[in-house]
Each structure stands twice: as structure tokens, then as C-alpha cells.
Assembly symmetry: C2
Homo-oligomer: 304 residues x 2
């Protein structure tokens, strides 16, 4: 059966289900046990937020969701590191990379004001905003995904939004169920601060030295070292911004590349030094932000 | 004097000016003659839409604005090709690449329902959505820029929009005038069609063969050959989509690279063949869209 991204026909936001079997039968969340429905190839189409992970945080519109793996099935505590290669975790990464919507189901959880009093409830579509590693309460590495709610109105009507909107909803006309999906995935922000940093390097990438040449100019992107979104909350100041080519920006923001304290460029997969960051003498980079970025991608590993 | 991007303090949207000198004195548009205020280094901060170019089109919220150069000063007709290296034109390219807002001033023009009856009027902030070349009414190459209006409410209040919004407005606190600027510049769209194309190539770039590897997966972008936005109106179908790395996507969308009918990859700056497009046997690319993209970047040159 094809994985459906978006709403399931006939299942409204707020619908209640007595148990995981009923949720499965409705097509809202296929697995009977796993919290994440998905694979690295397809993406993740749904999750269940059930309070099973002590490091989860539910703020309603924003959910910090702990990935799969490493738990003792009897006690529910972490007993080893989580791996991003776990299919559910890789599925959430894929949904983030492709901008795919994730159905969120909340289960009973007396600790959360957003959880239903009993059973399970379909709470609509979220997008995966970011992810990163940290050492969880039990002392092992966990991967956490920040999910942000998509507007409910967009999910019931398929009206195209104005050009300025990040989220386009489209109806997948062939096939039986009207599937609505997000179609936007990557936004590059600019600011006075970013422009200052780009000017220092004349758009040459601080990692690879390349300037992407286009008709009429050069193109580069400002990359925040400590991410500016929640929960990272890095500042938009020159000490926290790099001038990167789009490819290295994607690599840096997704943990394929991180920096050592002496600004060596390290490939995460191998742990090898690939070179030294190019730094203009006017550009002071704050090591605190470098350490924050590195910890996000290396915590709990020997390279941390 | 520093170039100000965004509103000028005390100059409201809809303000009227008797002549170009008054407009200059108000700080809304500095040049007394040129229609574009800007350079390739800084970007363009303002334009005057005056009906001086026969190929201009004013739809109110959207303006197709002809670049600078190549006109006979006496007759106003094009007498030679326009160049993107002209400072005003390069300024509009820079504003597009950086997402900088452009102040739009309309002058009297009896052919346009959006023009004031007399004098000049400040009509608020626009973003440069795209640009491309075509042969103008007078038979010479012109460069045209599509500008789209930014919401006026965003320009009077500096309230941060929701995360889904493309346009963030920020107040530039240091300095005398509260300058509001757009801070978002590049959006990468996704769709079922794009996902199909990416799957054929497993995220390997059809131009350079590279797959950007990140923790947990690979990343690529779907590039529409004939652009989908107005006025290009290319379709979102696999015959019109390429799987590209972010760097080549920027190059392709900005005319640094185009394709020949036999799918050779051509570098626009030199006209040299850089290689052959990688094409999966399931992926039929429609030459009509390839020709449309090529014409947008080569019209009026020997390489067209």
C-alpha cells in the first residue's frame, strides 16, 4: 500500500480512536507498536506522541519528539545510543529534507495538557523543522525532531495560498483519496548581518572557496552556526554567521559537516578533517556557537 | 550616503511628488533621470515605472519592468541590445538574489490604469521574483524583471510573521530611520512530480553527478526547466523537471547554465559545452521546455 502524506480521507483533525488497532484501521498510523511510520527512502507519514519518551516536549503547536531506538522494552528507559539510520528516524529526516507533512496523533499522557484524556486523537499535520542529537535524561544519545503545526485551514481546503506562503497545499487528483501535501521545503533567509558577512567574502564559500557565478553577479547564502530557530535560538549576529555555497549550507545545516574549535572542517561520516575554514580577518567567529553546532551533530559519540 | 532598502521614514505608501527632484529630496528615489537606483554590488533600492519602455507591463500587484540601456535618448526606442552588466540591471539581479525589497514609484502614464494622473506616486515595496531576456518590440534584446508587491501591512508594522511566511520584516534598529527589509530570498518547492524525478536519480545531480550527502540521507532539489511562476508558466510535470544539486539549481535558474536541444550542458558566460545532461531512461524531457529556458537566457545573442 502506498504511503499517504497528508490527511486521510474521512479522518478529521480531532478524531478519536480507542486504540492503536482502530488508528491502524482508519489509515492514520499504520504500525501497531512503533511510534514512527516511515523509512529513509519514503519519509515518515505519521507519528504517535504518547509520552513514552522522557525527553519529549509537547508545546502544542511545537513538539520536540524523540526518535526511535535504544530503549529497554520493559522499563522504557534508554539503555543505548539512538542511531539516525534507524528507519523511523531516517524517515523523519527525509520528511524534513523534502518538506513532507507528518500526521501527528497524541495518546493519553497525564503529564501533557495537550494529550487526550483517554485513547488516541488525530491532531493534524506538522512539518519537521529541524533535528539534532543530545544526551538524554538517561545518559545516552538521543535524536530529537522539532515538529511545527501546519495551519488546519490549509489542510481542509486545497486553495492555493499567496506566493509569499511557505506552504502550498495541492490535491493529488489521481487515486481514490484526496491527499494534501506540503510542497515547499527550504527557505534561505537574508538580513543586514548576512549581507555583511557575504560582503567580506565576496560570496566565496568559507568551506570550499567556490563562488556560484550567475549572470549579473555571484550567489552565496548566510548560514547560522547555532541555528536561529527554536529550540536552538542562536543569534543573528556576524559572530554566528558563515558565508557558504548552497551545497555546503545544506551539508552544514544537516550535520554532514561540523567545525572544531580551531575551525577545522570535519566530515561527520568519517570524522576526518577536510580542510580549514576560510576566515576574513574582520570576521570574528564565536567558538561558543561552533561548539553548539558541533554538539548538535556529535553528542554521545567519540567525536563529541 | 548609505543606500536604504525598504521604506523611507515619513514617506507613506501613496505619497505624491510633483517631479523627480521632489522624489529625490524625499529620499524615495535618488537618481534624477535613471529609472533604476542601484548597482550590482549593493542591489537596487528603488525604480520608477514611467511608461518609458514600450515592453513594460503593469498589472498592479505584478510589474514586468524592462531593464536599462540601449535606448535612443531622443526617440525612446531601443537601438541596441541591453546588457545585464549595466549597473541598474545588475542591481535588480542582486536584489533578486538577496531578496531585497525595491521601492516602486509610478509616474504619469495614460496607458496604465495603475499610474497616477499626474506627477509621481510612491506605491510601496516589491520583490524581484525573476528575470530573463527577450526580443523587444523594437527588435533588440531587452532584460525584463518581474516584480511582485509585498504586503503593505508588513511594511508599516514590524511584527514578525508566522514561521510559514516567506517575508520576514525586521527593523534595522541602529541608525536614524527605521528601515524595514525583507529577509527571505530563496524557496525550493517540492511536489509529487519532483519526488518522482528525484527517485529516478537517487538525488544525484543531472548536471554534475553529485549527491549531497547528509546525516540520514541524500539531498537534491527539483528544478523546473521552464519556470513555473508568471510570466513563464511552465507546468509541474516530470517532462519539465530536473534533479539538481543546490549549486547547479541556482546556476540553472539564474541563466549561468542552459541546455542545447541534444541536452548538452552549456556555460552561458563562455558558450562552451561543459558536458552532457545525465538522463534516466524513464525520464522524458520535453525539448519545448528546454528551448523556452534557453531563450530566456540567450535571446538576442549569437548563442540563441
Amino acid at each position: 500500500m502506498a504511503r499517504i502524506f497528508g490527511h486521510i480521507e474521512g479522518q478529521r483533525v480531532g478524531s478519536a480512536y480507542g486504540n492503536r488497532r482502530a488508528l491502524h484501521d482508519a489509515g492514520v498510523h499504520a504500525p501497531l507498536q512503533a511510534g514512527i511510520s516511515g523509512t529513509g527512502k519514503d519519509g515518515a507519514d505519521s507519528i504517535v506522541v504518547s509520552g513514552g519518551y522522557v525527553d519529549d516536549k509537547d508545546y502544542g503547536e511545537t513538539i520536540v519528539y524523540t526518535g526511535h531506538g535504544g530503549r529497554d522494552p520493559d522499563t522504557g528507559r534508554q539503555v543505548r545510543d539512538q542511531e539516525l539510520s534507524d528507519p523511523g528516524n531516517a524517515g523523519l529526516v527525509r520528511s524534513e529534507l523534502e518538506g513532507l507533512p507528518v500526521r501527528v496523533v497524541r495518546g493519553r499522557n497525564s503529564d501533557s495538557p495537550y494529550a487526550p484524556a483517554s485513547g488516541l486523537r488525530y491532531d493534524g499535520l506538522y512539518r519537521v523543522e529541524s533535528h539534532g542529537a543530545k544526551v538524554g535524561i538517561d545518559g545516552f544519545r538521543i535524536w530529537q525532531f522539532t515538529l511545527v503545526k501546519l495551519p488546519d485551514e490549509a489542510s481542509t481546503t486545497a486553495t492555493p495560498p499567496p506566493l509569499q506562503s511557505t506552504i502550498d497545499m495541492v490535491t493529488n487528483t489521481p487515486g481514490p483519496a484526496p491527499v494534501i501535501e506540503t510542497v515547499v521545503q527550504r527557505i534561505v533567509r537574508n538580513s543586514k548581518v548576512v549581507q555583511q558577512v557575504k560582503a567580506w567574502y565576496d560570496h566565496e564559500c568559507q568551506i570550499c572557496g567556490l563562488a556560484v557565478e550567475v549572470a549579473g553577479g555571484r550567489y552565496s547564502e548566510g548560514a547560522h552556526i547555532q541555528a536561529i530557530g527554536s529550540p536552538h535560538r542562536g543569534p543573528d549576529i556576524v559572530e554566528n554567521v558563515l558565508c557558504l555555497c548552497p551545497n555546503d549550507h545544506v551539508r552544514f545545516d544537516n550535520g554532514a559537516i561540523y567545525l572544531s574549535d580551531d575551525l577545522k572542517v570535519i566530515e561527520a561520516r568519517t570524522g576526518q578533517v577536510k580542510g580549514t575554514l576560510i576566515v576574513n580577518r574582520s570576521h570574528r567567529i564565536n567558538p561558543q556557537y561552533v561548539a553548539n553546532h558541533r554538539a548538535r551533530w556529535t553528542t554521545g559519540t567519540a567525536r563529541g
